[in-house]
Amino acid sequence: MKPSAAPKIVSAALFLIALLVGVPLLINATGRTDLYYTLTSVALLSIISAGVWITFYIGRINIGQGAYALTGGYVSAILVMNYGVSFWLTLPLAGLFCAAASVLIGLPILRLRGVYFAMVSLVLTEVARLLALAIPITNGAKGIVSIPLPGGISFFGITLVPDFSSLANPRLAFYIVAVLLMALCFLGLYRLAHSRIGQLCQSLQQNEELASSIGVNVAYLRVVAYALSSFLGGLGGAMFAAISQSIYPSSFTVADSVNFMLNCFLGGLGYVLGPMLGTFVLYFGWDVLFQTGEYQLLIFSTVLIVLMLVLPNGLLSLALPGKRSL
């Protein structure tokens, strides 16, 4: 381990402790329990956005993450409702289903680049919505509602995760699960970005022809990255379906897909923590502006435009000027 890694681990651990202990204490002290839901949403959305970030890492603009989030949500909901599978099992299954689907879809469309990929992925979100409306198992526009809360997990009689419906405060439980998931995802993302594969992905971002000429298996690598990205999308979507206990074709729309992309942009594409910060700022900004009523969208978009004009390389470029912190 390099000597520079120790402070990073300490600060990451401190951050996690602050989220898991500090935030609940603060919320208890102030009595703003509605913040649990907001923060849980931020954590989950940042997982989904992290997926988009991976595709940016291989130089593709992905506006199709909503499709996988929706698919993940439906897979989890259908497995829980129709087949009685435990939610905790459906969580990875939803991710894997999305990853498998993305391999099939990705093989042709990952040959596209730049704007073409962006447009196809945007269309993908619309396809997912239309599919959810058209095929019978998703129950059309009515969606799937009153999904039960996640059950418990016990291992040889020891309860690892309590049954959520027996808890006094399921919101806190969801919050903790979401934060832990987010921490895991970003840890994985950090490792990925610093691994050999991460370096190779960066070579794709800069010049695919050059990368393939020196022996990088471009086709394989981009499919893997896209599958990982979709896995995160499905995971986040499944969690969302469990929290809201419902999923509709309109749960994740084109606007959401665009927002996932904006989260990454706003945080900064060159930074692993970019999607997390971007999601936090965008989601909270949107919530805070709710008080302005009909001017909400106007102010929000103006702020976005101004941010873009002042900081075209993301918020984190402010904190770490000139340095590519990867």
Binding site: L112, F265, F300, P312
Partner: protein, 288 residues
């Protein structure tokens, strides 16, 4: 059958006009204009206000739509896209900007015109009926105007000085600059022209389908589809894409009627297959 083709041609003419504006902006600036659908809606509302509310002649309203949008487009280019393109490390940043402008225009439209569906009185009443084809006269007029505008646009691009300059820009920005083309000026003109086209189509279509503040996004998606079919940044491709999409929609709505609302699903599936064979669309530059 003739009816289906007539509908397809009418839809295609409008679609082609929308796609033209999008592809022009893309060719000149390498910007995917997310706000294109919102520009269309804005154009529709301008025509609605002038023709529907103030009762001025339709032609005046249409011209006003075009001029308003041209001004909006020029301002967007000068104050938003140009500085961001200059300063950003990655060209994708323009996409965030485009998405933010789309939100912005949405907000403005919502504040100014409300969320209600708006329509205007027909420009010409009556229906053309022959033994095979039934078409309302206003649709014919709109279709013909759209085709005339496409022709005018192509002639303008082909023979006028700004048109030549813009084609040079689309081919190679730096080479054009070295030959003394005023790159900034023609980028602005091009953006304004693209926005104007969107506004004019919005104005034309408000007489038939009406307009509401929520249709901007779906229109953008359709425009993207057409550009993908034809190839981004190619004028002929956009026109071809527009007519192909119009025809597919018209045929799909007739053939797939009994299966429910699956026309667009089929179109998307076909598009995926098509793009895996020809990633750059029909006539796109082989740059990916």
């Amino acid at each position: 059958m003739e009816q289906v083709i007539a509908n397809g041609l009418y839809l295609g003419a409008q679609y082609a006009l929308i796609a033209l504006g999008l592809t022009l902006i893309f060719a000149l600036m390498n910007v995917l204009n997310f706000a294109h659908g919102q520009m269309y809606v804005l154009g529709g509302f301008v025509t609605y206000s002038i023709y529907g509310q103030l009762k001025l002649p339709f032609v005046v309203a249409l011209v006003c739509s075009g001029v308003t949008l041209a001004v909006v487009g020029a301002l967007m280019e000068k104050f938003l896209f140009r500085p961001v393109i200059q300063r950003s490390k990655r060209e994708e940043s323009t996409m965030l900007l485009a998405a933010a402008t789309a939100f912005f225009l949405d907000a403005i439209i919502l504040l100014l015109f409300g969320e209600k569906q708006r329509g205007v009185p027909k420009i010409i009443s009556g229906v053309f009926i022959s033994d095979r084809v039934i078409l309302p006269y206003d649709r014919i007029v709109v279709g013909v105007v759209a085709i005339l505008m496409i022709a005018a646009f192509m002639l303008y691009m082909q023979y006028s000085k700004p048109g030549r300059a813009m084609r040079a820009l689309a081919q190679d920005r730096i080479a054009a600059q070295l030959m003394g083309v005023k790159v900034e000026r023609y980028s602005m003109i091009g953006f304004a022209l693209g926005a104007m086209l969107a506004g004019v189509v919005g104005g034309l279509l408000v007489t038939i389908t009406g307009v509401n503040s929520g249709i901007g996004g779906p229109i953008s998606i359709k425009a993207f589809l057409m550009v993908m079919i034809g190839g981004a940044g190619v004028v002929a491709g956009a026109i071809a894409g527009g007519f192909i999409l119009g025809m597919m929609e018209s045929v799909g709505l007739t053939v797939l009627r009994e299966y429910g609302d699956v026309t667009y699903l089929a179109i998307f599936a076909l598009l995926m297959i098509f793009l895996s064979i020809r990633p750059n669309g029909l006539m796109g530059k082989p740059w990916g």
